[in-house]
Point group: C2
Chain length 491, copies 2
């Protein structure tokens, strides 16, 4: 006998989670499509050098990659994708002439990271990415927030907050402090503010700078190693990260500089007034001024697109990525469930595919962490308990020909009502027990008497009340009425 367990860090999803997961995905696909984002499919397996950038990738990336080898194949040539951004970059570089820009794509799929397995940290998880490539204007930035807003609303999430920032503001602050070259290290430290707290971040900010171990803002890198680090394996925020092996890094700031940076980050949370304060403080810094103007344009367009003020806030401490994002950045938390971390993050980048093409492809996009959102909804008891996709169970009464039962289910399906016929004529009680346990709402029962009279009984499996002797001709309308739904297309 072989042990039917899954490998460490992987997992099965049974119907109770997979059913709402499918529903979320359908909602997201519909939302993306409504904005004109189109699906593309790229393989789960990519060439190694595509993923590692010919070895230019950080140690983090290399450490997390799953290599793939087939019999007779050479090691080190193929690997599983660790996100959907690198495949997008490769795809666009390869097909840009046929696609033309602007190009809006969504992609939904599994990504793989060889994380050390830990509680709530998985080696395979699903990302739902959407990006607009080939545009520099604020409209696509704002639309990113609109999509987040519409997708979460359609998914039934009652209250959430989209936090926004712009790289230019912190750049402007650092410019004003004479620290223009410390952007990467400062962002890396600030990125931990929510999780690690002010003291730890101050320590990192003031720790001696170790030189360009991560060489900093190369606009051609496509490897968001910072994202890998900060997003970890999607659900990583649940896990205790204190035991994570972290190399000591520092930004080399003095105490006063660190205080200025931290005050700026921590006080810069709120509505549009935050931008006014920042303008007063940094009005002479061109990069900050540009960032403030862009954020204002984005907020105006978000408002025009129906995103209410209650759904967003400025957060000048939002770091989100070291060198990858160059403009607006987003993070989204569900109100009251902030401990689950961001369920949708993204931002604007200058150059998506610099490793693969000379063509400069700026864009903006974000990624919904499906599995994190699902875990949150599960924890919030928002997922329901049904194990079935069909509300109706048609029982197979022992002694009544099953050919009499099958057409009833077919009739219900034709009006859009899912109906399952119990596959064997076992004892009726067993069938009803199955129906209740699965979460079917109604059972259609035709015993020999009903069969002779062209009638059926309709049983509510939750309340156990049963209406007897309904005419078979009324099957669709009686079931629809009991379910409280309008009848769909008639046959």
């Amino acid at each position: 006998m072989i042990d039917p367990r899954v490998a460490a860090g992987l997992r099965d999803l049974g119907p109770m989670l997979a059913i709402p997961r499918e529903a979320l995905l359908a909602t997201f696909r519909r939302t993306f499509a409504g904005f004109g984002f189109v699906p593309i499919e790229t393989p789960h397996i990519e060439r190694m050098e595509v993923l590692t950038g010919k070895g230019a990738g950080s140690d983090e990336v290399l450490r997390q990659i799953f290599e793939v080898t087939n019999t007779g194949g050479t090691r080190g040539e193929l690997a599983l994708r660790f996100d959907l951004t690198v495949p997008l970059a490769r795809f666009i570089a390869k097909h840009v002439d046929e696609l033309r820009v602007p190009f809006k794509r969504y992609a939904i799929g599994s990504v793989f990271r060889g994380e050390r397995p830990a509680k709530g940290r998985f080696r395979e998880f699903v990302q739902c990415d959407f990006d607009t490539v080939g545009t520099v204007g604020p409209l696509a930035d704002a639309e990113t927030a609109q999509v987040i807003h519409d997708a979460l609303g359609a998914a039934g999430i009652p209250k959430y907050t989209i936090a926004l920032n712009h790289r230019g503001l912190l750049d402007g602050l650092l410019d004003s402090l004479g620290l223009a070259d410390r952007g990467g290290a400062v962002l890396r430290a600030l990125d931990k503010l929510a999780k690690a707290g002010r003291d730890k971040v101050r320590a990192e900010l003031t720790h001696p700078c170790e030189g360009p171990r991560h060489p900093g803002a190369s606009p051609t890198t496509i490897l968001p190693s910072d994202q890998l680090w900060s997003q970890l394996a999607d659900l990583a925020d649940f896990a205790d990260l204190t035991d994570e092996p972290q190399e000591p890094r520092g930004a080399g700031l003095d105490d006063d500089q660190a205080r200025r940076v931290l005050d700026f980050a921590e006080s810069g949370r709120g509505g549009a007034e935050v931008l006014a304060r920042a303008e007063a403080e940094l009005g002479s810094q061109p990069r900050a001024v540009e960032g403030i103007a862009r954020l204002r344009a984005v907020l105006d367009l978000m408002t025009a697109g129906g995103v209410p003020e209650s759904a967003w806030r400025i957060n000048l401490g939002l770091a989100r990525g070291l060198d990858y994002y160059t403009g607006v950045v987003f993070e989204t938390t569900v109100d009251g469930w902030e401990r689950f971390g961001s369920i949708c993050s993204g931002g604007r980048y200058d150059d998506l595919a610099g490793l693969f093409t000379n063509r400069r492809l700026p864009g903006v996009g974000a990624s919904i962490g499906l599995d994190r959102l699902l875990a949150l909804l599960d924890e919030a008891k928002q997922l329901g308990t049904s194990h079935t996709t069909a509300p109706v169970l048609v029982a197979q009464f022992p002694g009544v020909e099953p050919t009499a039962m099958v057409p009833l289910a077919t009739r219900l399906r034709k009006v859009g009502i899912g109906a399952e016929v119990y596959p064997e004529p076992v004892r009726l009680g067993e069938q009803l027990g199955y129906g209740s346990a699965r979460g079917h709402r109604l059972a259609v029962i035709v015993g020999p008497d009903e069969h002779a009279r062209g009638a059926f009984n309709l049983r509510d499996l939750a309340t156990r009340s049963e209406t007897k002797g309904l005419p078979l001709a009324d099957l669709e309308s009686a079931v629809a009425k009991s379910l409280g739904i309008p009848i769909g297309v008639t046959a």
Copy 2:
């Protein structure tokens, strides 16, 4: 610069294929759900011994497996799934107590086979499986055909034929010829009848039997190596298979026996009369009699479920798998496109998960070859040419505030009409060119004059006709009318 190519045997799908692919998947999910099949998710990565059956798998399986190794991991421990059946078996063995049977699941996902790359043969492709586990009755057999019928009908495939057979008939014939122990070899040969022709199959049938290289009907094997062989990498039927390395195998029949077997297989195609003829020939063979009775029960239930006689035929030559299937087997071809091979195949098995549990789990299921179907529809020019998911493009007229355009798209989305706002205020002609090339049907244009008057112009991007000066208040109704669709939910 890194070459943005995909690895050999893999491929990208751009929007023109990915959009109809998504639509097919949504159709299949809806169909599966309508019958009460529930989704489950298992990882793409499984433990090696789960996939290879502790090395009991055939050479075919081992040769095709993609190994997966992460940094620091041990080789040979993990691999990519090559189908969705083995993961289902493992899943059910692991979770059977919480699930209880009968259990109806569907699963849609990529599977991976390290095939030698060739034209039309891919190393990654999508399967859409549905199975009912834990039932032995004919109803679930018939329902399999019903699902195929409903799914293909809903997908807009005009005419298709579900071929049915039952293992028992050929077993009965072989019993009558005193060849009961040659079932495996005979099926393996017959499986090639459609592709290789009668002469080649006769040669294989009469080639000396080499003894139990494949030990034959072990009911505990979960490795449908025959399926791997006959389905190859899903699209394999397109490729020229003559150069495939095949070990010589024979069934050791004499000429007369081979003729009887071939005549039986080739003449046994048609409606229910085929069963009457088979009954006349094999009425004294218990295994054949049982198979005929089961097929008749299944056909009655299929008819009751709305599958018309024109959608199926009996094919006594249908082999479909060596030891895996034990009862009814199915294959489905699109009429006129038989050269694409079967787009949905399956059958009944005695014991799904014998490698993982002592619990005997009989069932029946089938798998839709999504990518094969998509290739067929593409070849048949049934896919359309749209590159967009949104019918409407809202232009961003230079000089008109984009905050005036964004709400128009939002209004259209609220009534269920996809609308994309062009992301930058470039020259109008360029925006309309983008819209035409993408396949947007309508453009909403608001120039400064229209903006001042609260009006808009509606342009048909195919005919280039434009209706000017429509009142903005009528946006939704005017667009819906032009698209010829009813307006959905109002805001």
